[in-house]
Symmetry: C2
Subunit: 314 residues, 2 copies
């Protein structure tokens, strides 16, 4: 794997909001600094980021805030795939021009049952219009949400036409057989598979994949990034098992608001708990429960700045 390429742990960074539900660049920068300090890349504007709940101008402004703050663009993989071709092009172009290591590109997801010809044309138009040799496109397979799966046949066509540019995939489908199949078939062509859940991190790396882009990286970046570095070590299975306990707690709750509650508790900053509709913040009782369950597994977020007025939860 090229050292320049994105790999290891990336967080689909949760997006903080001000009281009027505007994106909060200051809090986002702070969280991104902590993630990068913990060797975790920045897959901003993913599903966990409520990326599609943000407008294109909002996303461009947030990206600019990250660049201006000196965060490393080489470790960024912003989500840029929108329903409208022109939106996807605008966002992708902005990311590439500022040196982002890659972009995570959903297929256009409004129409369902679209053909591989239509999806190939969608990706092709974006790649041609951006027209930049630095572009690295990571396809985004998350059929349970997008309802528009990425088939092996489509990957094959894209790799044939855009080798080097079509750089990999995030597979959030939850079926490791699909990930294994892609690694066996496409890894040798420089196609990097990222598992969409940290539960598959070790299996993905052992199978020749590149890492994980997982919601849980927002709260456990160091332990996940460590396994991504040390997966050949003798204690790798034990590390994976320790990581898995966090999702064990969170799987009982809606993921995005639950993660935000954890960041709110460990920063002492209640503002972090806000979500944009159609998502709904957790009830106070659920937040309390999560805090208790995390204490029971001795969960911590070392190095996270306590920026709020509330007491630290753990």
């Amino acid at each position: 794997m090229n050292a320049q390429r994105l790999h290891g742990a990336l967080a689909p960074v949760v997006t903080p909001y001000t009281a009027d539900l505007a994106p909060d660049a200051g809090r986002l920068v702070a969280h991104c600094r902590w993630l990068v300090a913990n060797d975790t890349g920045l897959a901003v504007f993913g599903t966990t980021s409520e990326g599609n709940s943000l407008s294109v101008p909002e996303k461009i402004a947030l990206l600019d805030a990250l660049f201006d703050a000196g965060l490393p663009a080489s470790r960024m993989m912003p989500g840029t795939g929108c329903c409208a071709l022109t939106d996807t092009v605008a966002l992708t172009r902005h990311a590439v021009q500022h040196g982002c290591g890659g972009v995570l590109m959903l297929p256009p997801f409004y129409y369902k049952g679209v053909s591989d010809d239509g999806l190939f044309a969608s990706y092709s138009e974006v790649i041609e219009r951006v027209g930049d040799a630095r572009l690295r496109v990571y396809l985004y397979h998350i059929p349970q949400v997008s309802q528009v799966p990425i088939s092996f046949a489509l990957i094959e066509r894209l790799l044939d036409r855009y080798p080097g540019t079509v750089a990999g995939i995030k597979d959030s489908g939850g079926n490791f057989d699909n990930m294994r199949g892609m690694m066996e078939r496409f890894a040798a062509r420089g196609f990097d598979v990222f598992s969409g859940s940290e539960l598959f991190l070790l299996a993905t790396l052992r199978g020749g994949g590149a890492g994980t882009i997982s919601a849980i990286c927002n709260v456990s970046p160091a332990t996940i990034a460590r396994l991504a570095r040390e997966w050949r070590n003798a204690d790798a299975d034990a590390q994976q098992k320790a990581i898995d306990r966090v999702r064990g707690v969170l799987s009982a709750y809606p993921m995005v608001p639950a993660l935000k509650v954890i960041v709110a508790q460990f920063t002492g900053d209640d503002a972090w708990a806000r979500v944009r509709p159609p998502l709904v913040a957790l009830a106070a009782e659920q937040s309390r429960e999560i805090g208790e369950k995390l204490r029971a597994i001795e969960f911590a977020m070392p190095g996270l700045a306590h920026t709020g007025t509330a007491p630290i939860a753990a």
Copy 2:
């Protein structure tokens, strides 16, 4: 029904593109003029319009072109529901400030399995932020595409909180029982049900609904609008039956490219056949087939200007 309110036939107007797939305002204006001349309202930016394949700035520019051309805003119901709250607010505000008779509002459609609380918050935030007494929101129920259905319980809550503003629904689910249920339960509260298919036009009007917003209105506006005016006449069932023959032909093809091929054939203007990815234009053989089948049922588009260089198909 208030005479000021949108009713009868509305077309989710197909969107023409230039050779580089930019929206073509000139051709759109021409088609809208013909639709209005045939007593058909303008539900631009619907599913049939590839509305979600256009960016917000593209949609605002197209709306402005329609206003500037003197087309009646009172007969417009642009689709304004996007995934991002701020996009929906911007588009809705623009439509209302220019006097649009209503807006057709998809729920945010990226996340699936969202709660009625989240959808209520979504619609509520938009209505509060636009904050204009002229706003008329038509909900958009098209679960087979959006995968985010509009429940009766949600309608009830919205009508309780925003009577007058929440003005109706387009039901494209294809299940007349659902439409009948909404008419029985909500019509008396000024909630206007539009069927998403012209196949249900007569049944909808007999059940107390307001009309239809249907793809086929793009090519058969006059006959559909006539039935919407004359549904109490003795020949109403015969009119419905005659209308149904067009969908009988088109149902064998992907709807959007098929409609565009028909407009291309009857204007003699091949540019109309273009679609944006992820949709795919019809093959020449399919276009020819459609032309033949339409001739067999003596289909015509009277009054449509022949603007192209190709011969008129019919």
